[in-house]
Structure formats: C-alpha cells, structure tokens
Amino acid sequence: MKDMVEIRWHGRGGQGAKTASLLLADAAFNTGKYVQGFPEYGPERMGAPITAYDRISTERCTVHSNIYEPDYVVVVDETLLSSVDVTAGLKADGAIVINSTKKPEELRSRLKGYQGKVCTIDAGKISVETLGKNFPNTPMLGAIVKISGVVPEKEFIQDMEGSFRHKFASRHQVIEGNIKALIRSMEEVQVG
C-alpha cells in the first residue's frame, strides 16, 4: 500500500455508503493505520446522491478537505453514472468499482475516457442471496478491500466478524450473511 490512499464513495441516501466508508476506516484503523472517514453532509434525503470519503495513511493526515484526486472510487448505484461525474480527478493508476450486473468493458465507455482499472460487482445479487434483501454496501466494501488492498483480506474478514457480532449481537443470521457477502464479493469482483 502507498503511504496514503484516498477513496471516494458515491451512493444514494439510504444505501449505506456512509456506513461502508466508516466500516472501511474502522478496519484500516484496526490494522494500525491513521484514518479519516467522513461523509459530505447536506439535506439528507432517501435516494439523493451522496458522497463519502476515506483517507488511510501511515502518518496522520492533517488535511481537512474533501477528496478531489482519489486513488479509488466506489459507485454503490450504477444509475449515478448518468448524473454524477464519478471519475472526476480519479488517478489513472487507481480503479473504479461499480455495482452493476454488467461486465467492466460494457461500462468503460460511460466513464469519460477513464484509463485506469474498471471493476464491476453484482452487489445487488450477492446481497439478496446472502442477506435476503438489497443492501449493496456490504458487498461493495468487500470489493474495494479486494481491489485496493488497503487492508489484508484475512484480517479484514476477522475484523468485520467482530464488528458485526458487536452490532447484531442477537441476530446470528445477519452476521453470517454479511460475512458471506464480503467473501463472495471479494471472489466475484471483475477487473477490466
């Protein structure tokens, strides 16, 4: 991993992009890193485009601004591709990870000539099959950890198990489903 990795999340209100960004910050913190995890706040409405950010670094980062030149971008909702400039400032040696049923090469033409890696993951399908409902944020979290390598995969799964156990203490199925969703997304993410 580089000394500093910056990640930008695009989602819609209610899809859990903010929660996923904070979970990623948590996981990176637990491997000894300095982290910043923060959403961009405005009038919060279900379905409206939202942005969240992660900075993960080996030294404390003192910058307190949004991220304009991210190493990675995560798009939790494919429909945002037509309304939000998701690749703005995205580094060519980075990657964009999109929640989609399509293959990476089918989406590249919609990314304004972005030259870096384009990755897709069918987060909706994985979520429905493992959790019974469409919660795309858990699979997206697994996919970005796999693609960015900001947290070692094994440690990440163990850590998330701990977090989910804490959060859903009495709901065993939810814990298992979330872990399955993470593992499957790490296996199934397609890189193009």
Partner: protein, 392 residues
Amino acid sequence: MGIRERLSGNEAIAYAMKQINPDVMGAFPITPSTEIPQYFSTYVDNGEVDTEFIPVESEHSAMSTCIGAQAAGVRAISATSSCGLVYMTEMLYVAASDRLPITLAVSTRALSGPININNDHSDAMGVRDAGWIQLFAETNQEAYDNYLQAMRIGEAVSLPVMICQDGFITSHAIENIELAEDDKVRKFVGEYHPDNALLGRENPMSVGAFGMPCYYMECKRQQAQAMIDAKEVIRRVGEEFGAMTGRSYGLIEKYRMDDAEEAVVIMGSSAGTAKAAVDELRAEGKKAGLVKIRSFRPFPAEELVEALKNVKAFAAMDKDDSFNAHCGPMFAEIAAALYAAGETAPKGINYIYGLGGRDVRLESIRRVYAELEQIAATGKTGETYRYLDVRE
C-alpha cells in the same frame, strides 16, 4: 501511554464528558452538535455516569438550566450549534456575568440565511463578546483535550468556557485519537467545590443581583480582569496537561514560524489543511509559516505580535464576516494588537473563507500564500478585505 481509539469529534466530546461525570446537563438538540447530548444520554441511561440529564424545550432553557445548577454549586454542561447558540445568547451573558464556570461544547455551524447546516464560525464569533472563554480545536484530539482542560481553566477564574470544533468537518469525521485513562482524567480535572454557592451551607450567596450605576461598572471591571487572568491559567493548565499526556497547549500554536516571511493566521480544522500547504511550500524553498489561534477569548494579543512582528506579510483568515464593510473580527483584533504594540512593519490582509461549508482546499490556502509573496515582494497590500474561493 493513552488509549488508541478512533472517534468522531462529537463522540470524543461525549466521551470526555463521561470521563468527567459532571453533575448536570441541560440540553436541546441541534445539528451538528446533536450527537453530543445523544451519546451522553446513553451513558446516563446505562448508569455509566450519575449526571442529572435535563432535556429542555429550547437552548435558552438549556443555558438557564446550567446557570441554575452551576449557581447552586455543581458542575453544569451543555452542547449546541448555530441558531441554538444564538438563541442562548441572552443567557450566555448572564452565565458569564454571574461568574459561573459552565462548559459548553459548540460544533460550529453557519447561521441562516440562506438556511445552511454546514460549518463556519459565525455562531461562535457572534457571541465572542458575551464574556466566555473560547477555545477552538483543529482536530477531534484537540476538541477532546480542550474539553478536559476547560473546567480547570473556567473554575480558576470563575468564567464559563466554550469548547469549539468545526461542525461536520471534525464533529462527524472519524479519526484516530489518543484518549487519557479515566483515573488520570478524574485526577486532572478534580472535584468542584466553589467557595460560594447559592446553596452553599457555609457561605451562601445570592446570584443574579440588580446592579445600579454605582456598582455595575465595577462588576464589569472584575469580569474583564478575570478574562485577563485567564491567559496565564490557560498556559499553566495546558502545560500540566502536556505533562500528563505529552500534548501541551498554549494560547496559540506556531507552525514553521522561526524564519517565516509569509504567515497565515487561522483557527479550527482548516489549520490542518494550511499546515499541509506550508509543508509543500517549505519543500519548494519558500519561507511560509502558520499561526493557529487556540484561544480566541481571551485574545492572545501579545503572543500574536511576538509571532508576527518579523514576517513581511500575513493573512488573517476569518471563517465568518462582520458585515462592517471593512474586515472580519480576527483581522480587526490582530491589527489592533500590532498597532497597540507599535509594530507596523508586517503587511496584513484579511480573507473571509469557508462560509457555510465552502470546502477549504490545500490549493485555496496556497493561493493565499501566493498573494502574500506578492505583497512581501512589492510592499503593496492592495485590497485588504477579500473573499477566498467565491464566484463573483
């Protein structure tokens, strides 16, 4: 060694409150400080603190609750933001003039209108003359550290203390933080035993008296003296805190100022962004430096004069506007400090920046330094009242 954690600024404040276990909290929620009483009420509910939590119907009542409690002889706390702070204003003056060392956590936010929930310093600056000590934090760590020091400072001079951090930017961002152990915190903060209190059995006193012209001004003079005395107390408590945690605090922080020719004076979270800009400029061989104001009240006039007297040009960064067709409050007070000390060599300009959450980027701060370089080279300040990153 402290405890390695990651918390948002609001979580950090609520955690500090839990460690201190104050007697009374009077609170009314408002974005972005709502989480503070929310998290703290959980501690109350769980029995982790034995604070009397008093949910009220407005911020005016929240501060009134604190005044009643603190006057009775116990520690009272609250938290607020933006219009909530404005609505409290009448009672803020009462708290300060009654010499009640209440602590108030402020997650700073813009004022309407247009209606906006994001960060700037308009709320805190609007009450800068209410007689409260005002400490500003760059990070979640500083918000936490300032909170742990606030009661020691306020109680030593009998003045209330506002602990300000930038709404959302630090209040809602998760970052690494080092927490102090509970026993160390309790020992550091100590117990509160005021010499006089409304309900003090040994030395009862009346609070909120009527002040006729023959006495009113003497009361104000004493209040002014308490603020003057607070400077030394803030320094002493900041050093003592450093001995405990390794993180020392003064009234200001100087960053790469030793041989600096251009300096930015700034407060709050953007100081961190500006430090990164200074590092870049230094790597390019430029003599850039930064002064961060931690204590806006009392105002560190002598310290700022000392820090700025040898620079060629400085920019005072105000995250609010006085709408006086002239300048923001920080610039006004720095200029007054330099003039009073007879220092007229440094050229100064004022930027109004970051209003209503306008993102303050590293590039924005670099543009300020580029302007300062021009001024240093030519000796011409041009317009001193400027807006940063605005469409006109």
